[in-house]
Amino acid sequence: MSDTLAEALDAEYAATYAYGLIGSHLSSAQQPQARTDLDAHRQLRDELRAKLSASGVTPAPPAPAYQPTTPVTNARSAKALAVQVELALAGSWSDVTTQTDDAQRIWAIKNAQACTRRAMSWGASSQAFPGP
């Protein structure tokens, strides 16, 4: 169980870092959405840390920095990064469904769907199996 939770935690760390970068390239009109999404990922990060601790695993700290796969230089590339981050997380949360008990499985599916909604709100296109 802890492996997929630890991987999801690292993905949430990366998302939290990415939204800082994303927000700095968006217009003031798009800032509230980025802040709301950042808050959602901070909450998921904290929930994951708490669940890992409760299962006897010390949560790993975040990396000092996370490098985007493509440069973020304007609003367009910032939104593309948001889509990439959210789709990657939909995959990470779907991975969590493989090794969890019933309550955690429901929690993981809901989080995968929430990431999917956020990806669409940033301009994602439909995919058969959402992922990076």
């Binding site: 939909a90 499985r105 769907q113 999917t116 909604r117 990806a119 439909s126 995919q127 199996f129």
Partner: protein, 148 residues
């Protein structure tokens, strides 16, 4: 008014073999196999709906074809081959916007059903696949609702 005629109805084969060979009593059905078969039936029904909508509304065919192709991928992931069942009738008075809204509602329902199947599945890889399909169908619902 009716736009198109029903072509054929073909039963989807059960995805895996459910009975053992050479035994008097058939093995009890595996719950995960039953889930796969159920999801395959629902995915095939969605594919049929899209085929009908594509035939009836060429103005939105590109969008609908792309989504139908993704349902074909879902069906294959359940171990079932897609079957061309032709197009069924769509009410002549229905607009493309109405049809997109109707398909969006069907996708939302399908997404919820896949999430429930994911919760019920025993096999780890099946759970993961169903979670991803649930997310994919949520994407379809959002995309179609935005275009309706």
């Amino acid at each position: 008014m009716i736009r198109a005629a029903t072509v054929a109805v073909i039963a989807i084969p059960a995805v895996p073999a459910l009975a053992g060979c050479g035994s008097d009593k058939p093995s009890p059905p595996n719950p995960d196999d039953q889930l796969r078969s159920q999801v395959a039936l629902e995915e095939q029904a969605l594919i049929n709906r899209y085929s009908s909508a594509i035939a009836a509304f060429p103005n939105v065919a590109n969008t609908l074809t792309a989504i139908r192709d993704q349902h074909v991928e879902h069906l294959k992931a359940m171990g079932a081959p897609p079957i061309n069942q032709g197009e069924t009738a769509i009410e002549g008075s229905k607009s493309s916007a109405n049809e997109l809204a109707s398909l969006a509602a069907a996708e939302r329902k399908a997404s919820k059903a896949r999430a429930l199947s994911c919760e019920a599945a025993g096999d780890q890889e099946l759970r993961r696949t169903l979670s991803l399909i649930s997310c994919s169908e949520l994407m379809h619902a959002i995309e179609l609702a935005a275009k309706s």
